[in-house]
Symmetry: C2
Subunit: 214 residues, 2 copies
Amino acid sequence: MSTTSKRNRLSLDARREQLVRLGTDIFAQRPFEEISIEDIAAAAGVSKGLLYHYFPSKRDFYVEVVRQASAQMERMTATDPELPPRARLERGVEQYLDYVAGHARGYATVLRAGIGADPEVLALVEAARARMGDRILAGMQLVGPEPPAVLRLAVRGWVGFAEAAALDWLEHGGLGREELGALLVRTLRGALRAAADIDPAVGLEATAAAEAVA
Amino acid sequence: MSTTSKRNRLSLDARREQLVRLGTDIFAQRPFEEISIEDIAAAAGVSKGLLYHYFPSKRDFYVEVVRQASAQMERMTATDPELPPRARLERGVEQYLDYVAGHARGYATVLRAGIGADPEVLALVEAARARMGDRILAGMQLVGPEPPAVLRLAVRGWVGFAEAAALDWLEHGGLGREELGALLVRTLRGALRAAADIDPAVGLEATAAAEAVA
């Protein structure tokens, strides 16, 4: 690739990324169905033709918005694998709530302002949730690649707990970020202990996981 | 109203309800965007004109599907207010999982097969979640109409836990219904205890709530 075409390519990518960032704001403010390609082009100050050059359809644009928001959250909540399990969990929850608070509109876009029934969007969001659960299990350094069902359900349920509590908190507040973080950490501990109580076959593994973050 | 018009009215309502029930199946199988009014009319064996007679648009039809599925779940998970708090919680969770298992497609329709960004649909689903949380708080017989924020977030988070765990369980199984119910009940207890630990000002209230369901 020549230097010139490389530079052009980079500026095209930057423009594309700029459009996607703008999309996060647009889809967070109004439902997908109500927004036209014309609206997006007007908000971006570009022609419809240019928008179609980057994204074949409004849906493709939306999928890209969700993908980037989700990747950004993942980058911003990554934790140092050298940290001991409890500190790593606490740090991860702290970074998660920093992200949620700092990107309220983007977070809501990913989780509920979208075309939830679209298989690609659903798959993106579900994959992000699964990775969040996997990271938590891996962070406990005790669980193999195929965790027992009760442990999987405890962690997957907790990801739903974190999302629901974070969205309620964004909307209604009433609690400091640190207190909410503590509620998330302690509830995970409670869910892991519950898993240990329920299935004696995985009791030791789950108890160890709960103790690791206690 | 004459007897004749009353009978006609009832049969109209019954037909309308039948269409809505059919809608639950249709929207659970394919995304909203891909389904046309023609598809719905064909599946119901009625004319497009008749469908429009009941529902002005596909969106109105969808909103009605979500409303009925949500009302049905609420009816089926109602518990006897005479029961003591712990038994009432356990019974409620049992009925919830019965509903989820018996109406897997309808449940998925309400929670994720829809047009999530539609304000009316979102409001319906959020209201159902809020009522679920309110019922849980009321069932503990200890919390006033304006619960402390930490308690509200613990219960709202737990509704998210229950949804996420139930959807994962429907898809991947791996645990008996009773064990999943026990995981939900114990995790709520853990979340309430966490709330009590975090905010000493509501500690007594939350501790009492946790003990009530212990």
